[in-house]
């Protein structure tokens, strides 16, 4: 590809190498550790689901039991397998028995290790087959009913009530949306369990539960067949239950997942050790399930300046790319995040936005980039807001973005009303249609504002990565280099759920889902 920006790809290569070193460095830490939610994910993937009489999710019951018995280092696969061999019960029956106080996992006599592995592998294969089946079904839908052209129109629903969300989602699909994201309720990311069942009460969003996933999936398949486009479903596998939500999403055929440890560390104060370990397993699952992940770099620009800190977005995207590759997630599933968040008072701001969007496109040619709309500089002036979104849509179509998170004219006021979303979709359809091939027709002036901007940002990002390569990612976060937010290695939520793996530890899903590569 010829670069419209005249980027120096040797600088890109150098930056990418630094990012690779940074990710690999962290990966050695990741591989030595496990967490309570990683173990609960294994329990879920072994077929355990549901809650007990006091509404504790059974995966939590199981892992709490292991933790209390001091067995977390061996992992849930070991203890569940051991119990299955010892008792002949299924994983679900064992979970129920633990809840009833009839079984204490770490007190059962330890069985022959090869038998434990065999019984677990048999169970694991069933789940892996189910997830492969979902992936095949998605491919089948895509080849039979088809999909909308990129950029996909991506809108959110956030009523708090899953049934109301369904109505809003189906309306959006009929209006032209390609992806429906169900925003999670405030503070779900800090819950160390996943709520159960269909829910109708949420604040600024709706609980991510497996039942809610199922309800929305069914509704979108229905409307997708009607409108002749496969409608993708998006949710959030971030926060303290990152890999569990990835597993639920893989089981219920979600298509897109927000999935970014850095976001959780910086914006939710989740402990970095915990969430980096969690992220790895969740990305392995997402990769295997064919789910497009979205990373959260766009958020950096809500707390720091979009012009001054643009390079932190690129640096973080490069790191996220390497973490994803290590988890077996291909470029085609990397919805790396960036955003149109410059102060609208900036002279030539449109040129700078265009430059950065084109830069991201050229540096990540195969990634379905997730492009976020103006949010921070939206105000109560909804009329101006609609115009801001129009410029944003223009940049997107000119630079071939992948997932277009539609801006809302009411962004500064409330989560979208039915009519707000309809206006946004109309705006994007109008701009995309009228400007469809504009990008192919234009070149940028050599040495002009647009080219120079991108070259400058790239250089700063490469320098930053070189620095991180020397200090390590964790120390960089401690120093507040991303989003201007400082987080400590031992600070934040969830650290007590992290433990070193013991000798007998195994997670059957990693080798199966990485296709035996690891």
């Amino acid at each position: 590809m010829t670069s419209k920006l005249n980027l120096d790809f040797s600088v890109v290569e150098k930056a990418r190498n630094s990012a690779r070193v940074i990710a690999e460095d962290t990966q050695t830490f990741i591989e030595r550790h496990t967490t309570v939610t990683v173990e609960r994910t294994i329990v879920r993937l072994l077929g355990v689901d549901g809650i007990d009489d006091i509404e504790r999710p059974l995966p939590n019951v199981v892992v709490d039991n292991i933790k209390k018995g001091g067995g977390l280092a061996e992992g849930a696969a070991f203890w569940m397998g051991n119990a299955m061999v010892a008792t002949g019960k299924t994983a679900q029956e064992i979970a129920l028995a633990i809840s009833a106080g009839e079984i204490d996992l770490t007190k059962l006599p330890v069985q022959d290790e090869s038998k434990i592995k065999a019984v677990i592998e048999e169970e694991a294969e069933k789940m892996v087959a189910l997830i492969s089946g979902n992936r095949a079904q998605r491919d089948d839908y895509l080849s039979t009913i088809g999909e909308g052209p990129k950029p996909y129109l991506y809108v959110i629903v956030a009523t708090g009530n899953i049934y109301e969300d369904v109505l809003q989602a189906q309306a959006a699909a009929r209006q032209g949306a390609d992806i429906i994201a169900v925003i999670r309720t405030t503070a779900q990311s800090l819950l160390d369990y996943v709520p159960f069942g269909a829910t109708t009460e949420g604040f600024g969003g709706t609980y991510a539960t497996q039942e809610n996933f199922r309800i929305m999936r069914t509704a979108l398949d229905e409307v997708g067949s009607e409108v002749g486009r496969y409608i993708r479903l998006c949710n959030y596998c971030s926060g303290l239950c990152m890999p569990e939500i990835a597993a639920m999403g893989a089981i219920e055929r979600l298509d897109v997942m927000l999935n970014d440890a850095l976001y959780g560390i910086l914006f939710r104060d989740i402990n970095m050790q915990r969430t980096l370990v969690d992220q790895y397993f969740s990305r392995v699952i997402n990769g295997f399930a064919g789910i497009i992940i979205n990373t959260g770099e766009d958020n950096y620009l809500t707390t720091s300046d979009a012009i001054e800190e643009a390079h932190t977005v690129l640096a973080s995207q490069l790191i996220n790319e390497q973490f994803a590759l290590l988890a077996g997630l291909p470029e085609e599933q990397m919805g790396l995040g960036h955003a149109f968040e410059m102060n609208p008072e900036t002279e030539d701001g449109f040129l700078l936005e265009l430059s950065q969007a084109q830069m991201a496109r050229e540096i990540f040619p195969n990634a379905p980039l997730k492009y976020m709309p103006p949010t921070k500089f939206k105000t109560g002036d909804i009329f101006k807001g609609h115009v801001q979104d129009t410029l944003f849509n223009a940049v997107s179509i000119m630079t071939g973005q992948g997932l277009q998170l539609l801006g809302m004219l009411t962004e500064a006021i409330h989560t979208p009303l039915l009519q707000d979303r309809a206006l946004s979709i109309e705006n994007a359809k109008y701009v995309f249609k009228n400007l469809r091939h504009l990008g192919d027709e234009i070149e940028f002036k050599s040495g002009g504002i647009i080219q120079s901007r991108a070259q400058g940002v790239l250089k700063e990002a490469a320098d930053m990565l070189e620095e991180i390569e020397n200090t390590g990612i964790m120390a960089t976060i401690e120093q507040g280099k991303f989003a201007g937010v400082t987080r400590k290695m031992d600070g934040g939520k969830g650290l007590d759920g992290v433990t070193q793996k013991g000798d007998r530890y195994f997670n059957p899903f990693i080798p199966m889902m990485l296709g035996g590569a690891k």
Binding site: G160, L167, Q170, A171, A172, A173, R174, Q175, T186, A187, L190, F203, G204, F267, R268, D269, T302, T303, K376, T379, G380, A412, H414, T415, L417, L418, Q419, A422
Partner: protein, 252 residues
């Protein structure tokens, strides 16, 4: 300025389109019924009930689920007596950073301690940072920069218990909180809880308590038991001026 007797009567103010007292207003809303002659008529009748004369549906479209979005114009029949309007407001003077610093030096022999947080489940730090952090916002320095003020920003998602415990420990003169998420009235519950907690600790009278955020008005804050509320477009000097003057007024 051109002064024609254009018919403006401040005791009977009406919306203005292009002619004084034409009452012109624009509307957009959705009715949960399909797009058809009957729903357009329903929309018109709704505006008539709202006191709008000559309602016109200028656009109506189906939103995909048998609901219809309307864009409408009409002429308002109501008027407002502008001369009798009273809005409760912070009535202290707004001083700039130097004014506040001088005021503190002239009136206090100690530093003023202000403890702030984005409290409850709210994770939006940008607003409270704009008010408190050194660099401030939009060219207005934050409280940390003020000589004579000791500002403690506890960050986001701070539970009320923790906030109160910190305020006691730091011997705070004032607590200031930021509330951005207002969906389903979460802020009301959280703001009320803080006041109740301060009352049960018996320290509500010993501190100035203020709240801020884009949907927070002075009136709402007062109603919930706060000393003042600050909305969009507020800066550190607004809350700082209020706090220092209020402390003097109350002899604290």
């Amino acid at each position: 300025m051109i002064t024609t007797n254009n018919g403006l009567d401040l005791t009977k103010v009406k919306p203005y389109g292009d002619t004084m007292n034409d009452g012109m207003m624009q509307f957009s809303f959705t009715l949960p019924v399909p797009c058809c002659d009957e729903s357009k008529e329903a929309a018109k009748q709704l505006l008539i009930k709202m006191g709008i004369d000559e309602p016109q549906v200028v656009d109506a479209k189906d939103l995909g689920v048998g609901y219809t979005m309307f864009t409408m114009y009409g002429k308002c029949s109501h008027t407002i007596d502008y001369t009798t309007i009273e809005v409760p407001k912070v009535d202290s003077d707004v001083m700039d950073i130097h004014g506040v610093e001088d005021f503190i030096e002239a009136n206090f022999k100690r530093d003023i301690v202000i403890v702030g947080a984005c409290s409850g489940t709210d994770a939006h730090t940008v607003g409270i940072d704009a008010i408190m952090n050194m660099k401030g916002f939009d060219g207005h320095y934050g409280l940390e920069r003020y000589k004579g003020i000791k500002a403690y920003n506890l960050g986001a998602q701070v539970p009320n218990e923790e906030l109160v415990a910190n305020a006691i420990e730091l011997n705070a003169d004032a607590i200031i909180i930021s509330q951005i998420v207002t969906q389903k009235d979460v802020h009301i519950a959280n703001m009320t809880e803080l006041i109740e907690l301060l009352e049960s600790e018996g320290i509500r009278d010993k501190m100035i308590v203020c709240a801020g955020g884009p949907r927070i008005s002075y009136e709402l804050a007062k109603e919930l038991g706060y000393d003042a509320g600050f909305g969009s477009g507020s800066f550190a000097e607004h809350v700082a001026s209020f706090i220092v003057q209020e402390l003097v007024n109350r002899g604290m």
